[in-house]
Symmetry: D2
Subunit: 266 residues, 4 copies
Amino acid sequence: MNITNQKIEISLAPDLKIGGENIILMLGPCSVESYAQTHAIARLIHQLGLRVIRGGAFKPRTSPDSFQGLGEEGLKILRKVADEFDLLVVSEALGVEQLPLVAEYVDIIQIGSRNMQHYPLLWAVGELDKPILLKRGFMSTVDEWLAAADHIASRGNQKIILCERGIRTFETSTRNTLDTNSIAHLKINSPFPVMGDPSHATGRTDLVIPAARAALAAGADGLLVEIHPKPEEALSDGVQSLNLEQAKDLVVQTTRLAEAMRRGIA
Amino acid sequence: MNITNQKIEISLAPDLKIGGENIILMLGPCSVESYAQTHAIARLIHQLGLRVIRGGAFKPRTSPDSFQGLGEEGLKILRKVADEFDLLVVSEALGVEQLPLVAEYVDIIQIGSRNMQHYPLLWAVGELDKPILLKRGFMSTVDEWLAAADHIASRGNQKIILCERGIRTFETSTRNTLDTNSIAHLKINSPFPVMGDPSHATGRTDLVIPAARAALAAGADGLLVEIHPKPEEALSDGVQSLNLEQAKDLVVQTTRLAEAMRRGIA
Amino acid sequence: MNITNQKIEISLAPDLKIGGENIILMLGPCSVESYAQTHAIARLIHQLGLRVIRGGAFKPRTSPDSFQGLGEEGLKILRKVADEFDLLVVSEALGVEQLPLVAEYVDIIQIGSRNMQHYPLLWAVGELDKPILLKRGFMSTVDEWLAAADHIASRGNQKIILCERGIRTFETSTRNTLDTNSIAHLKINSPFPVMGDPSHATGRTDLVIPAARAALAAGADGLLVEIHPKPEEALSDGVQSLNLEQAKDLVVQTTRLAEAMRRGIA
Amino acid sequence: MNITNQKIEISLAPDLKIGGENIILMLGPCSVESYAQTHAIARLIHQLGLRVIRGGAFKPRTSPDSFQGLGEEGLKILRKVADEFDLLVVSEALGVEQLPLVAEYVDIIQIGSRNMQHYPLLWAVGELDKPILLKRGFMSTVDEWLAAADHIASRGNQKIILCERGIRTFETSTRNTLDTNSIAHLKINSPFPVMGDPSHATGRTDLVIPAARAALAAGADGLLVEIHPKPEEALSDGVQSLNLEQAKDLVVQTTRLAEAMRRGIA
């Protein structure tokens, strides 16, 4: 084991930490589709007093014939709107060969669920000095997830944020099953900040806010939530994206719950 | 389908409903072991301002050589201490042949997870005029769970309380996986009150309160929680039982969260 | 543990054992629908040189509005055609209260998958002197399955035939996942004869014969297979029933495989 | 969809095809550990009349502190002993960046279970003119598996061999659950040859041969089996490796079954 024993707070910006008192909301589109779409989202994020925008530029898709993201163009859009509104960017690197490009534009590098055990990528981000948002493999145990974090840590980088995004079970009424037990367990028994992703964990707009509340109540230090100005026109994941009004409601509801937990929202 | 379309509030006592504003906490031992044990628990429940005691008299156990409960003696103890402290009793009926006996002592009849698809028992409780707490089969889908409720309703009884108690998945760090998605889904899309059982869903004392919070935040109308004066001496499920101090903390924490959800605790 | 350590061969008739050299094919309809249907099937079974007919009289159905079987009338039909062709009958008892009735008509009593942990029923069949076909719970581990057998054995009856009928997994292209590992494991490491049910394990006619071959090759002592003169008109499970021509092909193919395994078919 | 509709036979050598009459046994060590170990195995493979050796050079391991394989040195050993005994080599490429190296030494390139959805690697092997052995993700559906094959085919390479290696389920008595249904299903309904890996699918030496028989009986065109001269000293996966005597027995038993299926072994 190369993982530290001590609780880690990770500095995202000089005035923003994850793993401490504040719960960090990271909102944004599944895929970056255009400047206009991303700008509208970023403006809302800024208005809501939040600090991080999420968005996909390279999209891992089950079918090779689906939209694969805008690539570098998507990263440029993310960076531009983020700078305009003083936001941080979280986005996924799909492979080792893309990592230098992604690292140039992005503040927090996401490892996707399908790549949680792609060890060459874990080793490569282990040599960076950036926070890594490590999504749980949808088929991985908590122990395997920590072992993946250990692969990253073995190369020197301990700035690891774990993100529960739902696991595959027999249940089919939701896209995945949000494992709030794992959030509670890792918050207590691992050194890392833990987030929840209620969008992928439910796959249904009507359940995103309740699942966000559940993740938060289980102890999550952050939430990763897909929002879109017009979910019905989204190129990917529209059925699980909140629209901008719903995004405001998310902030209202999580703020109330956070206060009950003696925490804040940022 | 024999299930009503309208949201159901179930009256548990003249002044106590489930499915309305108040979240109902049902605390008690896994197994009724003795009068003294049950009395100590009932007194605490009363002191905390709660109204329902749970407890097992007939225990379905994986091995035939494990403690199978006190049987009718256990029911008598439950009834006696409940009457002393003006509490309601929830307890499980294991089979059709036991039902008359259990119904004599118990206010809310529990159908256990292993019996969720034992149809003769569903039909039999469908002919009673008592609330039925229907636990989810630990590997049953939400649709199968609702179909089980439909078996009960088909005989006339719509007083059904659904209870999510964790499902079986590949994850082994917890006894089961609490499916908070199903709580959120059924609260929105079914007519029935929905509860959560954080004790069976985690199997670990350190996770019971966080899981209780998660269930509540997902929208649960009630919680079923195992408590014991001396968990380390319990004849069953000691590793997941809260002691009496922890039970108090559970009430404090859930009260705060309930207020953030604009609800109360009873 | 109340289970014997020694390999058990169970005598089904004076000249027919399960757990020995011969692999026993138990064919028949999902539900007994009429005398004519059952008679046609029984005649074919007899012509194929087989000795056991399966058929459901009391059907556990997910929805209360589905066909629930002919009940006692179904048992009478089964017994009548079985006697005409000198066959043995295997059929399910759904609950303790039905058991005396079922035991009157049936040679081998089946405990269904949903009832594998309905302990009162296990205790009741444990007091009979008849072979019990114990289906694996679709959500039960091998250890829990053996513990269920232990519940039966604890009351004195060791004539237990285990039947793997597929488990619930994330895979949806088949109704269940046939766990051939469990057949191999129990054949080697338990005292009981082990069967496979390729009909429920696949839920698709095109896969029933390959799955039957796989179960047999893994070491099964018997197969339970649904057949129907006109599967497209069956009142239940038509999509997984073989027609009578396919039933003949099943016997041809399994006979060849059995010979390669130095066994026979009966 | 970029996948052809027609059944594919893949030429492995001028006189060796997979997907046709012969069932191809691919035996070898989990990890290449030394020249002596690999040479002993290759000699046995040759003596048994088989044509392919499997072996790992780059090993994806859950923990970063486990043995990660000999790397290029392992590939050199494999090539050397394979050439001495006129065998073909199958070995895994862990990432895009390794692919040129692996392709230089190896005849059939394996994509491991953890990488089944690592799309950059799928695209890269899609541009090669070599057979690709695509292992099923241990928690991937059949549809996702075919979509992964589609990613390869989308770049031009249709020489894809599917390999079922067991899926993750709730069952813990075996390492994974061999999904023989998927072998039967894909053999009938996909264009590709299908193999089974009874070593990973069971994780237990005592079950490897029965599981090999089951895969073959379900319709497999090949088997991938771990063998080792001294399993108890293996640096990885010793508990599921056959020793050389057991390897001979595997060939004897599968040859008999193959004949019953009107096929041969190569």
